[in-house]
Amino acid sequence: MSLTRSKPIVLVCDDEEGLRESFKLILSDTYELKFASNGLEAMEILKTSTPSAMLLDIKMPKQNGMDTLKQIKKLKPSLPVLIVTGYQSVEMAQEALKHGAADYIPKPFDSKKILATISKIIK
């Protein structure tokens, strides 16, 4: 009899298919992934499940990442959220951290950096 430990769940919220597929390539060996293409979808998923971490883009249609982050922090304050965005500014990073983001990674990112950061924030 073999004991299989289930993989931690990571929710990826990005509106672009290319990015979602990229995250799949990087993370699917280590994590079970759930995908949302905008903030509203992410909130729906979070109502029914509790992932171990979440990756969140900032510029998205319907509801942007910053507003989504604020809602998440009300619904699941302990969920570590990693912001991954093309906006590379100190102000944006500060704003995200102020609203409770666990960390901030600018695009284009390094796959090893993503893996290391997620494992750090899950602990």
Partner: protein, 553 residues
């Protein structure tokens, strides 16, 4: 005749003339109408005050002063509503409430003017004539007037800063003028001082001259000079009027003393002599004052300042362009980083996942799509930033619109979009046909995209239709000038939310899942290059309309 009354008469007539002049310039404009009211109220205030100085009888002087005073009371709400009218979208709800409060307080002053000791206690005889002593309501009203006058100065200054941020140089200048003119108007309230005791001759009219002159300039002039030049001019003239008033009143006082002491009568001859001295010294005095102020306060002369002002404006435009390029570069960087991230990740995993057919299929699809996307962004950006010269030729607007709609006939059919054309004429304008087609194409494509399950695309040539919320950044207009043609393009899509209206022409602003956000920026660029203007109007849920104003010449 009391000679102290003369400056009041002069300033009251001067202000009324400015009011009539401003009204004659454009009697349909609300701000011109309000300014006329303001000038009229100022006229009554100063004229009746001047008149009262000449009246010996207590009760007659009281009635005259009451008329003058009630007119001065009206100034507070008029100035405040004048400010609200000019501030337009920059005003806040609290300011509208304050406006109504000023009306209410003014009404109280009217009600209590005849009730002893509440508004007006009594008249006191000063050396210039009778002057009232204020009651508690007058004190309250004076304090309220002070408070909202300072708020008005601040609001204009704040609006100027906001307009500068939005690169609206014209509004920036205009708000700066109003802020300055109001801050000059505030000291006119020195006239209140004798009402509370101190025997200080009410010389508030000096500030009224500066205020009304500045506001007239701001209303009437289309292209304003830099405010520094006007500050300098108004400074010179205000100082000049103060000095002249001082000289005039000194001559009157001294001569009156001499004449009364030695001859026991007062003569109009003195006023004539005083006026003649002033008339002779006016120009040399102005010239000297100008020189002194230029030398000690501004360091350079006015002509040099005008030249500097011109250079500064050019520099400001250059800076604005640089800012636009920086915004563009930041937006472009963001747009390109997403596809770059996908390409980078797929390239990174290529050696280890090469044997996986699913990976290979995704690789070829996603990487190829992302490269196309980058290419598309660069292409559109080049189109946007290319300083392509306009090739202007007379062409028919109807032909340009119809040819552009012709390109899109398949898209329109496929999306079940009905086109309604209301061409109220076929104006021929000097246009760059290809660029104008590009502009219309982008607007039509935008409309098609917002009506995926069908709708109506309406194209009007003539007066604008519909429209609720306006695009404030790009200057909304409610009227069409005679020398321009308006083309309106409306869709029946979901409309543009109010908060997005100010940004829809910004590069890289998009709410669509696909799209670079450059389409409408390109339209804005093309229309502006033609000397035209574009604005978007929309009521959430009932479609959007783009109004394009083009010059006929």
């Amino acid at each position: 005749m009391n000679l102290y009354s003369l400056p009041n008469y002069f300033v009251s007539i001067y202000t009324l003339s400015l009011g009539v002049f401003v009204l004659a310039c454009n009697h349909k404009d609300r701000k011109n109408q309000i300014f006329f009211l303001l000038a009229l109220a100022t006229f009554i205030w100063l004229f009746f005050y001047g008149l009262s100085y000449s009246i010996e009888d207590y009760s007659k002087a009281l009635i005259t002063l009451k008329i003058g005073h009630l007119s001065a009371v009206c100034l507070t709400p008029i100035v405040y509503f004048f400010m609200l009218e000019i501030l337009g979208r920059y005003k806040k709800k609290i300011d509208i409430l304050l406006g109504y409060l000023s009306l209410l307080l003014a009404a109280l002053c009217f009600i209590f003017i005849n009730v002893d000791s509440i508004y007006l206690k009594k008249l006191v005889r000063h050396y210039w004539g009778y002057y009232p002593i204020g009651g508690p309501l007058m004190i309250a009203y004076a304090m309220f007037t002070f408070t909202i006058a300072f708020r008005a100065v601040y609001l204009f200054w704040d609006a100027a800063k906001k307009a500068k941020k939005e690169l609206d140089y014209d509004s920036y200048q205009r708000f700066k003028y109003y802020s300055l003119s109001l801050s000059i108007f505030v000291p006119a309230s020195v006239d209140y001082l004798p009402k509370f005791g101190p025997e200080i001759y009410p010389f508030g009219y000096v500030f009224v001259v500066a205020f009304s002159s500045l506001v007239t300039y701001a209303i009437v002039r289309h292209k304003l000079l830099d405010v520094d030049i006007v500050i300098r001019r108004s400074f010179v003239y205000s100082l000049l009027i103060s000095i002249i008033t001082f000289i005039y009143l000194s001559i009157i006082l001294i001569s009156e003393f001499i004449f009364r002491s030695y001859f026991g009568y007062q003569s109009i001859l003195i006023a004539i002599i005083a006026s003649s001295i002033i008339a002779i010294t006016f120009n040399p005095l102005r010239f000297r004052l100008q020189k002194i102020i230029d030398k000690y306060f501004f360091k350079i002369d006015a002509d040099k300042l005008i030249k500097e002002n011109f250079q500064m404006k050019q520099e400001l435009q250059h800076q604005d362009r640089l800012k636009a390029v920086a915004t563009l570069a930041a937006g472009m960087a963001h747009e390109i980083k997403n596809p770059l991230t996908s390409i980078k990740t797929f390239a990174e995993y290529l050696p280890t996942k090469y044997d996986d057919p699913e990976f290979r299929s995704k690789f070829s699809r996603i990487v190829s799509d992302e490269v196309d996307r980058v290419n598309n962004i660069v292409k559109q950006l080049l189109e946007f930033s290319k300083p392509e010269e306009l090739v202007l030729k007379p062409c028919s607007i109807v032909a340009v619109l119809d040819e552009t709609l012709g390109f899109l006939s398949n898209n329109l059919l496929a999306n079940k979009i009905e086109v309604t054309k209301n061409y109220g004429g076929n104006p021929v304008l000097n246009l760059d046909k290809n660029q104008m087609k590009q502009a219309f194409l982008n607007i039509f494509l935008n409309s098609i995209q917002v009506m995926p399950s069908g709708g109506t695309l309406t194209v009007n040539i003539g007066r604008p239709v519909g429209a609720i919320h306006e695009s404030p950044l790009h200057g909304s207009r409610n009227h069409v000038r005679n020398d321009e043609v308006i083309i309106s393009i409306s869709d029946t899509g979901p409309g543009i939310p109010k908060e997005h209206l100010a940004h829809i022409f910004d590069p890289f602003f998009t709410t669509k899942e696909s799209g670079t956000g450059l389409g409408l920026s390109i339209v804005h660029g093309i229309i502006t290059k033609h000397g035209g203007k574009i604005e978007a109007k929309s009521s959430n849920g009932t479609g959007a309309t783009f109004h394009i104003y083009l010059n006929k010449k």
